[in-house]
Amino acid sequence: MTTQKLASIIEGIMFVAGVGVSTADVAVKLEVTEKEIDDAVEYLGNKYNEESGLQIIKYKGKIQFCTNPENADPIATVLNPIKERALTRTALETIAIIAYKQPITRLEIENIRGVSSDYAIQLLLSHNLIEVVGRKDVVGKPLLFGTTDEFLKRFELTSLDDLPKYEELMEQITVLSQGIDTDALYNEFDVPENNIEEEIDKVEDFEEDTVNE
């Protein structure tokens, strides 16, 4: 198969999919090599260049069509309500913490920000920028949050490693976090080792003693 032909097929797949198309998946299903796919994607990249009305966004090994951001306003004028607002400072702060420290609980986020983050988390959830990825195995089994593909697309990142200064920041945080016990946030308590009945007996004995005195 020629690169042009493969590119034309992938072009069609991307149009129909409407979600990110995994190039690895395409390679397996069409029985072509990853190299061939890469060439075809590069070919498409040149076709849908900076000037083009459509462009290709890449993230997490997936490709998807999107419109040229330069045309955002005219498009929004014609098809009114689809334009989204940039995130607020609070929401940005919260999603930055989630992005770098994921998976993370609400309590941990609030501990870093030093302020209630409920509203910001709800906002990010409703925008599908974060999602619940599990529960932390501590008292209360709180929800853990992580970022979504939508987040990568919105911030034009190919993967989480592309976060600004990822390595550097993580290193700094690790150094600073030394000696700070985040697990202490959860009201961890030890279940008494002794048999509870024994404990009760002890208390009763003690009470009896005091009464006798």
């Binding site: 149009f15 129909v16 999919a17 409407g18 979600v19 462009q55 966004i57 998807q64 069509f65 999107c66 419109t67 951001p69 330069e70 955002a72 306003d73 498009i75 689809i82 334009k83 989204e84 607002r85 940039a86 995130l87 607020t88 400072r89 609070t90 940005l92 702060e93 999603i95 930055a96 913490i97 992005a99 770098y100 870093i112 920000r113 030093g114 302020v115 209630s116 509203y119 910001a120 697309k153 919105r154 911030f155 034009e156 990142l157 976060l163 600004p164 200064k165 920041l169 700094q172 945080i173 600073l176 976090s177 000696g179 700070i180």
Partner: protein, 285 residues
């Protein structure tokens, strides 16, 4: 063309600046804050750590060289001045205030001579916490510059990820065979439980029967009960006829005479009665 593009760029930039929520919130507060008592903060007010960082900045010293005790008083002043703030936010401010006061009070007490331990003192830990917050705060600004809300996407085709059923080696004959096998199997499993029954439609309703009987009375003046059932009648028809007779009695159009027990019933016309053909017998239709 080039000029147009620049113009568009500028327009987009202006638009983004105008719609940035910070500006919006500020403008909103200026415009409406005085008119009505309610002031919306859009959740973007400074948190306690923001305030602390501003205080640190105002001393123009590095955080490592600052005694938290020194800025505690200023922080408390700030908290005292916070009037129109909701309980939820206030509690977070007070939480930090409490921690700062604890650290300050410890620093004022004469230090016991203790051996150096590995444990970091609280002030150090607190500063680190602030530092971590600052890093995230600064990074979030950087992240913000990457944000692009100007791209639009197409919805997936509705059928795109549906399951597809592929029928392999399918022939019409095969289908018919499979279907007849299925029928046989159902037949074996399900012996008919319900017997076939015929439901005969009544030839007349109560209302119609009343009309007929009244007609008979008009022409013949009287008739025998048995005369009404010449030929074949269904159970429903007999009931309808009986109801019709009762109706005629009720309307006082007819009288009934029976001389012996089980004897012939004679239905006679009665003067003065009137057939009311709408309301009364409507329920039998």
């Amino acid at each position: 063309m080039e000029g147009e593009k620049n113009e568009l760029d500028n327009a987009i930039k202006d638009f983004n600046e105008e719609t940035s929520l910070d500006n919006f919130a500020m403008a909103n507060e200026e415009e409406f804050g005085e008119v009505c008592d309610m002031v919306f903060h859009f959740q973007d007010q400074d948190g306690p750590l923001d305030v602390l960082w501003k205080l640190v900045k105002s001393t123009k010293l590095d955080i490592k060289d600052i005694k938290l005790a020194d800025i505690t008083e200023q922080y408390l002043d700030y908290v005292r001045a916070l009037n129109d703030i909701d309980m939820e936010s206030m509690s977070w401010f007070i939480r930090e205030a409490a921690t700062l006061l604890e650290i300050k009070s410890k620093s004022l007490l004469p230090k016991e001579e203790v051996e150096e331990t590995d444990e970091l003192d609280e002030e150090e830990l607190y500063k680190r916490r602030m530092e971590i917050y600052r890093i995230f705060k600064e990074t979030s600004v950087e992240l913000g510059t990457l944000e692009n809300v100007d791209r639009f996407y197409k919805e997936p085709e509705k059928s795109a990820s549906d399951y597809r059923i592929v029928l392999k080696n399918m022939t019409m004959q095969g289908l018919v065979e499979a279907f007849s096998k299925l029928l046989v199997r159902i037949d074996e499993r399900e012996r008919p439980i319900i017997m076939e029954r015929k439901i005969t439609k009544d030839r007349f309703t109560v209302k119609e029967r009343i009309a007929t009987l009244e007609n008979w009375l008009e022409t013949k003046n009287h008739f025998k009960f048995n005369e009404m059932f010449v030929g074949e009648f269904t159970r429903g028809e007999i009931i309808n006829t009986f109801l019709a007779v009762l109706e005629l009695l009720k309307m006082q159009v007819a009288t009934i005479i029976q001389n012996d027990v089980f004897g012939d019933i004679d239905i006679q016309k009665r003067e003065g009665g009137k057939v009311n053909d709408d309301a009364e017998i409507g329920e039998y239709n």
